[in-house]
Amino acid sequence: MTVSPCVVVSALLALVGMPVTLAAQEELPNVVSSPASNAVEVRIGAVLASNSGKEFDARLASLHRQFDTLFPYSSYRLVKEERQRVPWGGKVGFDIPGGRYVMVIPKEFKNERVSMKVMVIEGSRPIVDTFLSLRNHGTFLVGGPRQHEGVLILSIGADMLP
């Protein structure tokens, strides 16, 4: 009868009162390529951009340069901001203005980048269905969906949890 080293170590740890699960975890190979933590925080912001007025929402101060450089609008108003914690491989959804819906599935964390699937759904059709990787704490923008007198710009990002 052969006894695996794992069983021997587990038995010894049980004798000294340590949880066996700890030993089991140490024996497992590192099959997950990434996550330094078990969860990631996904954040989304919905900005209504238009040319009616010259308002710039103070909460968007950190995006001022990007908006000025990338978009031709004179008014930017943050209409929604939300964060949700989700486990790797889990699904998280956000309702955004116009009856639209954003779904994000973070897949893995590798080379300081978060890979994730992002879907922006309008009605029953996906207007964006993409798989991308983004640097930790980075943000990418999805713009263009029409909303009232302007367009909707979404900022989507992910932050690794410590």
Partner: protein, 155 residues
């Protein structure tokens, strides 16, 4: 000295000799003063001064002399106060140029990080999708363009 003076009052020859000596002293004195007065000393000091000018103390010696002459603590105080004022002004300038904090601490912070996304796949059900990657702001934008009216367009 008193004995010599007392003898002079009693001895005629010594008194005569003493008077002659006094006379000689008076003549010598008068002659010397007359010669000294005749000497032109108007250029004397300028000559001396020109020679003194060639013997200048070193920069370090002059500094030491100047420092020992009086109370010069202000020389340390004034630059110290000026440096403190400069530091204070610099700190005020730093705080003044800092961006205003957003009203929500959790507001997106994309300016300080690399926001360039690597897109591995992209599908869409709209007329067109543009991928814009701006090197200046290191930001990736997916821009969808669709003319199909949707519920969101209706106020």
């Amino acid at each position: 000295m008193r004995a010599v003076a007392l003898h002079g009052t009693r001895c005629q020859s010594c008194e005569t000799e003493l008077r002659q000596i006094e006379r000689v002293q008076e003549l010598v004195n008068h002659t010397m003063h007359a010669r000294a007065d005749s000497i032109d000393l108007s250029d004397f000091w300028s000559g001396v001064e020109s020679r003194l000018g060639t013997i200048r103390p070193s920069w370090r010696e002059r500094l030491q002399m100047w420092w020992s002459e009086g109370d010069h603590r202000w020389v340390i105080r004034v630059p110290a106060l000026a440096a403190a004022a400069a530091v204070a002004l610099f700190a005020v300038w730093l705080f003044a140029r800092a961006p205003e904090p957003t009203t929500q601490p959790d507001a997106p912070r994309i300016a300080a990080v690399d926001n360039a996304a690597t897109i591995e796949s992209l599908e869409s059900d709209v007329d067109s999708v543009a991928v814009v990657s701006d090197p200046e702001t290191r930001t990736t934008v997916l821009w969808v363009s669709d003319e199909t009216p949707v519920g969101g367009d209706v106020p």
